[in-house]
Amino acid sequence: MAEVVFFIAALGVIAGALGTVALRNPFYAVLALVCHLLALAALFLLLRAEFVAAAQVVVYAGAVMVLYVFVVAYVGGERGAMAAPVGPRLKVLSAMFAGALLIELCIAIIGTTVTALDGEGGRFFVGFGTPSEIGRLFLTDFLLAFELASILLLIAAVGAVLLARRRSGLEMAGDLSVADVLRGTHGTQTQAGLETQAEAAGPPGR
């Protein structure tokens, strides 16, 4: 039974990964990655990592991917005609590089003398991978990593806000500011005074 679930989940993982890489529309690529993440959560459950699987679904597929969806909706897909499509030489070379990487990793994994990998896993106790155990580890053995991770999150949040803010003033022509609307200068000639004949009629000679 575990084998069946493993193969279905592994198929979902690899299919999602291929979809992310191959699909042209970036929105579909994001959706393929969401499928990949959900299948990966199933693999984590098979490895008795319950908290990691839940965090994967809630944080990764739930928050990070939603962020991606928003940005893809804002930025949009590959714009019109690219300067030059990716040449077939680059595609072939990348596929060969990926194949070489895969073969090297498989040699390392399958040919390793680490005998622990030949079994189905080491001894585990009831409560392996539960949130209470992970929490205990975070607060005792890995406290420094935990605190550094929270500082990193703070830095990333501040950095993201700084990167995406508008610079002072408006950079796009035709943008209206609140002051413009209140003053009533939008859509009217800025040279003519408000509520004058000149404003209504426009510049002379037009």
Partner: protein
């Protein structure tokens, strides 16, 4: 399923992600492929931790998830800033990140 199977799946996903980073030109999709590689590393960590009956791999995987989320936030902020400046969203066209 022995642990080797999980590590092999992780190797596949890592290689696919590496190929995607090289081939795609949209920086959003390149970030997605980097996420693929990070997930492959997570799977390898959890599987190796399980192989030794230790939860350290899972803790490490959670920290990697935190790092990935931070990197995504900054990367997407950069892309949004590029888009606002009307620069082309194409890594082959972008020459500098000034401004």
């Amino acid at each position: 399923m022995t642990i080797t199977w999980y590590l092999t799946v992780s190797a596949f996903v890592f290689a696919i992600g590496a190929c995607g980073v090289l081939v795609r030109r949209n920086p959003l999709v390149i970030l997605l492929c980097i996420e693929l590689m990070l997930n492959a590393a997570n799977l390898a960590l959890v599987a190796s931790g399980r192989a030794h009956g230790s939860q350290d791999g899972q803790v490490f995987a959670l920290i990697v998830m935190v790092v990935a989320a931070c990197e995504v936030a900054i990367g997407l902020g950069l892309i949004v800033a590029l888009f606002r400046q009307r620069l082309p969203i194409d890594v082959d066209e972008l020459r500098e990140l000034q401004g």
